[in-house]
Symmetry: C2
Subunit: 334 residues, 2 copies
DNA sequence: CTGAAAGCGCTTACAG
DNA sequence: CTGAAAGCGCTTACAG
């Protein structure tokens, strides 16, 4: 009721026009291109607008411009703390542009992700896919509809924002080497994750160059439970250190190892990726490769803005990674 | 470029109409009210729409209906893991309704919150304020514009979704009483937080009825740092147990106590609220009052939908709380 | 500098 | 059941 009333009485530019004794088109100009109009007229129009409590109807403008002012963000798992800062960074740049961030969580499920992406794409000007599990083909198909930016994923020549991997991994491998580790394992993330492949391949290359061996140990899911479940396989492998695809897996390794009576870092060293919330609160606190997720979120929005504007997708700065050494790594003991 | 081309070629109902040999109004009906139209005509229209890859332009529809299909959610701190499940619940119900969730983070700042609320309100049909730090007056002013639902906050007769507090607190107090605690403290949250006041008052009432004393200890901010900073005051107070406004504060207490050489739960018992991510990973794991945040998020969206539809704001079910006993509580030792 | 008019893509009474 | 027309609130060439 009240609602209805409010809606129907919302003042339009025509109300302002009447009040100020000008045409609606003049009101539109006064409000949108300050300075291009007689300043006394403009003043009168603004006064009328203020008095009426006028607010632009964004739908009407959108219908004109074809642009909604919305940017969509789909991430693989919003309960993964790694995305906190990414979302904050994306939010900040989006708000600064006077736009709005739409956002959905695919819960590590391809169908949910595709569904959410399609749904959001209809009401947004473009889409950011974070840690997408979609196939390249699916992503390309989305990009036919509207601009798409991939985050921590590279697809054909779509614009992307990715964190640098080399530096952090390099530091991690050197750290392990200095502690005397020779046989290490990589606990894998989802096979559909581009970043999983990237971390794995850089780790292997780096370790080989130091004469270390890296065996892959598969995990079921990139979660704490996935890490716990992998503990027996890690133990059986005989490695002295394991690098996990992400911190959630590493958390699970730590928990599972404790339950199994495996001493970390005495018997096994553990390194994660991301430096998520809680990594420094555990016992032992986790050694992990941190990347600057906030910058990544900002870079993603900037790339999307450029894509929407039709500008070429210059590769943005890739936020640097670095190793944060804590208590979960120690000397190798064979 | 490509962008421009895509946009301008997006098929409209007029393209479908032409292809199917009917009027645009018929297309609109066929697509929106299936069954109300000659089934052969409808079939032809759908076929044409499919062939053209037609997608409804939501802005055009919005301009008609005055509704955007967007629900806005503003929360006090999105890096607080307590909101994970709330957002997921809200997201699920929103998506189910074919709507979209807009979302912003106020970073515990009143100005940022007000700004975000106003910004989102213009492009959404209604607003959910989670753990708002705004004044009642500010919230009422927002509610003049569009429907507003408060979450874990009660304002005048605005619709709200709140978690039940009594059961969990009752269990917590009984738990402490059974462990022999007589003098306990409440580590406060933000004074602008309604839920802070609520937890405090229920705790005091419950404790008094058991002959326990509760002193209030102020925290600067409801974060881990805020908890750490409070440790000296907690220690000086001589209490044997402290209940913190939220788990982040409790995390900080645990950390700070360890650094100060205070044994938890040997010398001091600690209880939090929320059961956030990590609560069971700490050493000792945290005893805490859990509420079902997912239900809360769902209830908030349902309440908002009702408010938008102009239905009376019946108080929704209040998700129950319960005490999760872990390792941070133990017998009182005076 | 300003106004009249057309149009963005859809929906919805109003006729037939 | 279907069509022609008006209208949602704004912007933007096009004239003056």
């Amino acid at each position: 009721m009240t609602e209805r009333t409010r809606r129907s009485t919302a003042p339009t530019i025509y109300d302002i026009a009447e009040k100020a004794g000008v045409a609606a088109s003049t009101v539109s100009r006064a409000l949108n291109k300050p300075g291009r109009i007689n300043s006394e007229t403009e003043r009168r129009i603004r006064a009328a607008a203020d008095e009426l409590g006028y607010r632009l109807n964004p739908m009407a403008r959108s219908l004109q411009s074809g642009l909604t002012g919305n940017f969509a963000l789909v991430m693989s798992d919003m309960t993964n703390p790694v995305y906190f800062d990414l979302v904050r960074g994306a939010e900040r740049v989006t708000a600064e542009a006077g736009c709005t961030l739409l956002f959905a969580d695919s819960q590590e499920n391809v169908d949910v992700e595709l569904d959410a992406a399609q749904r959001l794409l209809r009401v947004a000007d473009g889409l950011m896919l974070v840690g997408s599990r979609l196939s390249d083909e699916q992503i390309v198909a989305l990009a036919e509809l509207k601009p798409v930016v991939t985050v921590n994923r590279l697809v054909a020549d779509l614009p992307a924002a990715t964190a640098e991997v080399e530096v952090g991994v390099h530091e991690a491998v050197r750290h392990l080497a200095e502690l005397g580790h020779r046989d290490i394992a990589y606990l894998t993330g989802p096979s559909a994750s581009w970043m999983n492949g990237r971390r794995h391949e850089v780790l292997v290359a780096d370790a080989l160059s130091r004469g270390m061996t890296v065996r892959a140990i598969e995990s079921d899911s990139p979660t704490i439970d996935g890490g716990r479940a992998a503990v027996p396989r890690v133990a059986a492998s005989g490695v002295t250190a394991v690098v996990a695809f992400n911190d959630l897996l590493a958390f699970g390794l730590l928990q599972g190892a404790r339950d199994a009576g495996i001493d970390v870092p005495g018997t096994l060293s553990v390194i994660g990726f991301d430096d998520i919330f809680g990594a420094d609160l555990l016992t032992p606190p986790l050694t992990t490769v941190r990347s600057h997720m906030r910058s990544l979120g900002e870079a993603a929005v900037v790339a999307l803005q450029r894509a929407i504007a039709g500008e070429p997708g210059a590769d943005s700065d890739r936020p640097a990674t670095k190793l944060i050494v804590r208590g979960s790594t120690g000397p190798a003991t064979d």
